[in-house]
Each structure stands twice: as structure tokens, then as C-alpha cells.
């Protein structure tokens, strides 16, 4: 059961330093060897300020927000249904982003096998000047148990 009182709950800003090595490992885990993720010179020639982060890289920040703490259900019982991202600019190595996560929706809706519980979490990453760099929205449903 989702924690009904979780709506609006917000994590304190967590500093995420975007490291080159972290970008490299993320790209390698995807099997994506685009040089913009590995080679700073190539990345600059492609229009990035430094080695770029893959578009889904902010996923790796989300770990800062423990889902059980946020919505009362642990990640193993939540199923990610939908995600969206908005980028003010590309995220690159060397960025220092303060990321906050906020529970923006706790609801219940009819599903194919009865009612499903839904939790939506919105993340926001700002640079140290306070400028928004990215926003993300993660929509989870509570996983049906074997009995249901």
C-alpha cells in the first residue's frame, strides 16, 4: 500500500557530481559506444561543453531518492510505467547538480485486474547557480502480488 500521506513529500537537494567515469560506465552498460560519451574533444566538436551524458543518465540520480522512504513501497514492488524528461541543456561531465524528488501524485485507478495504485515522482536537477538543467517524471504502479 502506498503511503497516502506521501503526496508532496520532497527530498532535500542531493548533490550529484557528473563524473566522466560514471558516464563511461553508464554508456558501456547500455552498449553505446558513441564517442561523445568517451572523448571530450569529439564531444566538443559535436557541440557539447564536455563529454556528454546519455539522455537517460538522470536515471542514475534517482537512486538518491529511496522509494520506500518517499512513498512507503520499496522499488521491488513498484513497476515503472512511464517516464519523461525535459532538458534545458545537455548534461555533461563536470556538472554538479542538486537533485530533488517530489511525490506529485498518489492515486488509484481502475486497471485490467482491479484497481491499481499509482505514484508519480518528479525530479528536478539544478546547477549550482540555481538554473534548472533537467526535469524528470517517473510514474509507478504498485506491482500486483501473486495472490491478487
Amino acid at each position: 500500500m502506498l503511503d497516502r500521506s506521501a503526496l508532496g513529500r520532497t527530498t532535500p537537494p542531493t548533490l550529484n557530481e557528473v563524473e566522466r567515469g560514471a558516464i563511461r560506465r553508464f554508456a558501456e552498460a547500455l552498449g553505446d559506444y558513441n564517442p561523445i560519451y568517451f572523448d571530450a574533444e569529439y564531444a566538443r566538436a559535436s557541440g557539447y561543453a564536455n563529454v556528454a551524458a546519455p539522455p537517460s543518465f538522470p536515471i542514475s540520480f534517482a537512486a538518491g531518492s529511496d522509494l520506500r522512504e518517499l512513498v512507503g513501497v520499496s522499488s521491488r514492488n513498484l513497476l515503472l510505467g512511464e517516464v519523461s524528461f525535459e532538458y534545458e541543456r545537455p548534461i555533461v561531465a563536470g556538472d554538479r547538480l542538486l537533485v530533488t524528488s517530489r511525490v506529485s501524485e498518489i492515486s488509484e485507478r481502475p486497471g485490467p485486474a482491479g484497481r491499481v495504485e499509482v505514484a508519480v515522482i518528479e525530479d528536478e536537477g539544478r546547477d549550482e547557480e540555481g538554473q534548472v538543467v533537467f526535469r524528470a517524471r517517473r510514474s509507478y504502479v504498485v506491482r500486483a502480488t501473486r495472490e491478487s
Partner: protein, 216 residues
């Protein structure tokens, strides 16, 4: 060698991105992805834990497929910037799955010297089943000249291009051509879980909206 660029002037609505086939997902990849995302959900990396909740094996995190779509788009966009993306997961991903990522230009427009390209993107597994689909908004330079102007501090090239998809009738199907998602090939818990209705969509939308294809 300078990277080749994608320019707005060369993009047309309906253009297809070259399909990208990924190697089969394996457990080593899941371990690396868990490390890279610092997310060690046992269902993704711990076989006994996954079986204990009724799954046939560990399951791959759906965001892995999102990463594949990012690769598809970034390879194609060559210098174009991803401004927005949205994706919905329609089926669970398993070790052994071989995904093919596809995409198509759904719209393009330019105003005030800014040029945007909108894409429909999706991925199918080895059975041709849709596992994720979404949209991506890219920003690109109009042309080499426009980029050169930007780099030399001059004002952008201004060409007003109305949204195309609204002009063309009928608009390109929002949903990609693929089979409708069904229950994953598992029983009990995994199957139910995969049917979870993604948020922000009406309950019915767990099937891709592609009524035009239904009658076939």
C-alpha cells in the same frame, strides 16, 4: 575528423531512423547497468529473489530499453539536442531479449530561429512485441550556415516552418506499427505486474492507439 551533423533542412516528416538491433540482454549487462545506475533492485540482479516472487528469472529494468532508445536517437540526431522525451513501458524485459529500436519523424517546425524535430520511437523484442514507445523532441540547426552563424555569434537563420503533422492529412499514426502488447510469457505475478496501467493515460491506453490497423 569532425562529427557529421544532422540539419533540420534535411529532415522530412515520415523519415525513418535506421533500425538499431541490440545484442541480447544478458545478466552481465544487468549487473553493469545496476552498478551504473546505483540501483540494485534484487529483481534485476538476484535470481532467487526474482523466483521467490514468482518470476521465471531476473527481469531487466525497463529503463534499459529507454537507454537503447536514447542511443537510437543520439546516433541519428548527430549534434541535435534532445529537449524532451517521454516513454511508456508496455511489456517486461527479460534476459535473452533482443530488442530492435525504431523511430520515425512525426513532425518538424521552426520559429524565431529555433528548429525542432519530433520523433516517434519504439522498441520491439524478438517476437515483434512492443516493449516501449515514446516521443522525443529534438532541437537542431537549420543548416550548416545556421550553425556557423551560431558559432560566430551571429543571429540565427530565420525560416518559419509550420508544424507539418497538422498540415498533412492524415497525421502519421502516433503508435508505431507493432503488435498490441499482451501478457508477458509468464504466469502469476510477473504477468499481472506487467499489466500495470501506466499513469497519466486512460485505462484503455495500455493498448497502443492504432485503431487503423485493428481490422487487419
Amino acid at each position: 575528423m569532425p562529427p557529421r551533423k544532422l540539419y533540420f533542412e534535411n529532415v522530412r516528416v515520415g523519415d525513418e531512423l535506421p533500425a538499431m538491433a541490440k545484442a541480447a540482454i544478458d545478466r552481465v549487462q544487468l549487473a553493469r547497468y545496476a552498478a551504473a545506475t546505483n540501483d540494485y533492485n534484487p529483481l534485476n540482479v538476484d535470481e532467487p529473489a526474482a523466483k521467490a516472487v514468482g518470476m521465471p528469472s531476473v527481469v531487466a529494468p525497463s529503463t534499459l530499453a529507454l537507454g537503447f532508445l536514447g542511443q537510437l536517437v543520439t546516433d541519428w540526431a548527430r549534434g541535435g539536442q534532445v529537449k524532451k522525451s517521454q516513454a511508456r513501458f508496455t511489456r517486461m524485459l527479460w534476459p535473452g531479449d533482443t530488442l530492435v529500436c525504431k523511430g520515425r519523424v512525426s513532425d518538424r517546425w521552426g520559429e524565431g530561429g529555433r528548429y525542432y524535430v519530433e520523433l516517434d520511437v519504439w522498441a520491439e523484442n524478438q517476437k515483434g512485441e512492443l516493449v516501449v514507445r515514446g516521443t522525443v523532441l529534438l532541437k537542431a540547426f537549420y543548416s550548416f550556415e545556421d550553425e556557423t552563424r551560431f558559432r560566430t555569434g551571429q543571429p540565427p537563420l530565420i525560416v518559419t516552418v509550420p508544424r507539418q503533422a497538422t498540415l498533412a492529412a492524415p497525421p502519421p499514426a502516433k503508435a508505431p506499427p507493432s503488435r498490441e502488447p499482451e501478457l508477458p510469457p509468464t504466469k502469476a505475478a510477473a504477468g499481472k505486474a506487467a499489466k500495470g496501467t501506466p499513469a497519466r493515460t486512460p485505462a484503455k491506453a495500455s493498448k497502443p492507439a492504432k485503431s487503423p490497423k485493428k481490422g487487419r
